[in-house]
């Protein structure tokens, strides 16, 4: 019997020829990521294992993203302690304020994730790493501490589900729309829990790395273990010059076993919106056109990339954001920030009346800048919309693509970018 790409990765990193779903294996990990608010606890736990040096200083990646720049004294103190512990362990790659970005963006963009390998991180959206054909997985600080000490993590080999995506992407339709479409189709609360989700088909081959990252990013919200796109020429081009290490092009065997195969024709996927509170309550944009909102947010590990800012700039060129809308745009990393600046996107967005915030998770988890207050209705390109996610429990969050956010911000009500002029 053939193996899926995830099975192959788990086999080769656990030193076996073959693995089967359900088996527990200890795999060699390529990189382990931790970040500002949990990182210190990882190091403390790691020390308690009786080690003082991490398994490889080049492969423990430390990032400041949830707390930078600190909005209050508590966060400032946490950051100081975090910096001290990273310095103490002589970590090679520390993306601190000034070089910061959302950890998952940094991991992929800086080449710390490689096809055919396993990378883990102490944050839910580590699933993003599947975009380059790696197994990317979220873990708690215990697993991270163990990996820092040993270079290994245990895994249960997951059953596989395939999404074969065919057809052609229509104008203004983004990977986020497909992601929300699948969310509505499969439900957030999990027929997909523990599974590996494999995205294949012509519409995936046609997707750039930014879109693949969006798609894999939100597989955690489907309850899946990981999402993965097999490496191809897009991957090779993206990684050339940034990859930190060697990699292997793996793909699933023809006769690999899938628990289920779903077909989606992307030609029929339009702009999609998740209604407040429940991620799988998704509707085509037509259903909510005209809905009022007062805050617009584009950023996060889901949609804070250059391609997202590009499409916004295209829509907002020579337009003005409605006077009743506050828009905050947060590039996912310093690299994205600089690239968007050089490309002129930020200039366009600022001229239109958007506020650009420095790279961080910002209001995504409701603990940093730009949080929602009572009565706010937020149109967000982020990944989560449960009550209280972005701050107040008395706020509502609609989730959608950057294109929908941009077009809607001009009119002041939810708008279909396809009919927007």
């Amino acid at each position: 019997m053939g193996m899926t790409i995830t099975e192959k990765i788990m086999a080769r990193t656990s030193g076996r020829d073959q693995v089967k779903p359900g088996e527990l294996v200890w795999v060699d990990i390529n990189t382990v990521m931790t970040m500002d608010y949990l990182g210190k606890q990882c190091f403390t736990k790691f020390r308690s294992l009786g080690k003082s040096e991490v398994f490889d200083k080049d492969r423990v990646i430390c990032v400041s993203d949830h707390l930078v720049p600190p909005p209050n004294q508590k966060f400032a103190t946490m950051l100081n302690e975090w910096r001290e512990v990273v310095r103490e362990h002589d970590i090679t790659h520390f993306y601190d304020l000034g070089r910061q970005g959302i950890a998952h963006q940094i991991m992929v963009e800086q080449g710390h994730v490689l096809p055919g390998t396993v990378s883990i991180g102490t944050d839910s959206h580590a699933n993003t790493y599947g975009a380059v054909g790696a197994v990317g997985n979220a873990v708690g600080v215990t697993d991270a501490a163990v990996a820092m000490a040993t270079g290994k993590a245990w895994f249960r080999v997951p059953e596989a589900v395939k999404f074969n995506i065919t057809g052609t992407w229509q104008p203004w339709i983004m990977a986020k729309d497909l992601s929300l479409h699948i969310m509505g189709m499969m439900h957030w609360n999990g027929h997909l829990i523990y599974k590996t989700l494999e995205f294949t088909g012509p519409a995936i081959s046609a997707l750039d790395m930014a879109g693949r990252m969006t798609l894999c990013n939100m597989t955690v919200d489907l309850g899946a273990k990981n999402g993965i796109v097999a490496p191809d020429q897009v991957t090779v081009d993206y990684l050339s010059g940034v990859a930190k290490g060697e990699w292997e092009m793996l793909d699933s065997d023809e006769d690999a076993h899938y628990e289920a195969v779903y077909e989606v024709d992307v030609t029929n996927v339009g702009p999609t919106v998740a209604l407040p509170d429940k991620l799988d309550d998704t509707v085509p944009v037509e259903k909510v056109v005209g809905t009022k909102f007062n805050k617009a947010f584009v950023g996060t590990c889901t949609n804070g990339r250059l391609e997202d800012l590009a499409i916004m700039a295209q829509i907002l060129k020579d337009k003005q954001i409605h006077r009743d809308i506050n828009m905050i745009v947060v590039p996912a990393s310093q690299t994205v920030y600089l690239d968007a600046l050089r490309a002129g996107y930020l200039e366009t967005l600022i001229e239109a009346g958007a506020a650009i915030d420095t790279p961080s998770c910002a209001s995504c988890a409701g603990i940093h800048t730009g949080v929602a207050g009572d009565g706010d209705i937020v149109l967000s390109a982020g990944n989560r919309n449960m009550k209280g996610r972005m701050g107040s429990k008395n706020a509502q969050i609609y989730l959608t693509s950057p294109a929908v956010v941009a077009a809607s911000s001009v009119t002041g009500v939810i708008t279909d970018p396809r009919t927007f002029n």
């Binding site: 200890w26 294992l49 697993d143 000490a149 609360n189 829990i193």
Partner: protein, 174 residues
């Protein structure tokens, strides 16, 4: 054999409701985390030691216990600090299932237990057979026995102890 009172969830129990946002960035510590555990699940638990004071030993839940995609371990340490010795559910969210294994807190999959228990019922759980008995109603339930690795980690007192021991002895972990 573990014996004690159960609390039965009447809906999906999400990780971000077990530990609410305000406590996500607090240190991982069973005593501290247990004070506000379950604060977002029910209004009656939204006070200091609100859940803990119930004196429950078990939680009985339905589908996707501790779901919603949060990886924080406070969820597990909070429950443990509140005296929970095992959670029985139809299914568990993977992030917290993993954390539970790492902490040696049994997350036990049992298909129909949710329909057979009420909050306050006295249960008895035998980890060696996976048998759960509701002593109040005299009903029994089966559960999926833990995999050998899980049992090994559990008997070591969690993954940290398991790995620490291997490192101290210079043994490979896998």
């Amino acid at each position: 054999m573990i014996r004690g009172k159960c609390w039965v969830a009447d809906d999906y129990v999400m990780a971000y409701n077990i530990i609410i946002q305000e406590y996500w960035i607090s240190p991982i510590n069973p005593e501290e985390n247990s004070k506000w555990v379950m604060a977002g699940v029910k209004e009656e638990f939204n006070k200091e030691n609100g859940f803990k004071d119930g004196g429950y030993t078990f939680i009985v839940a339905a589908h996707n216990f501790a779901g919603g995609g949060k990886s924080i371990e406070h969820v597990i340490t909070g429950l443990m600090g509140a005296g929970i010795k095992a959670v029985f559910a139809d299914s568990f969210a993977r992030l917290q299932f993993r954390n539970a294994i790492n902490y040696g807190l049994p997350f036990v999959t049992s298909k129909d237990i949710a329909k057979g228990c009420n909050t306050g019922d006295e249960l008895e759980y035998d980890p060696s057979t996976g048998n759960i008995t509701n002593l109040t109603t005299n009903k029994s339930f089966n559960s999926v026995p833990a995999a050998p690795f899980v049992a090994e980690v559990e008997s070591a007192g969690g993954l940290m102890n398991f790995v620490r021991d291997k490192i101290a002895k210079g043994q490979p972990i896998g």
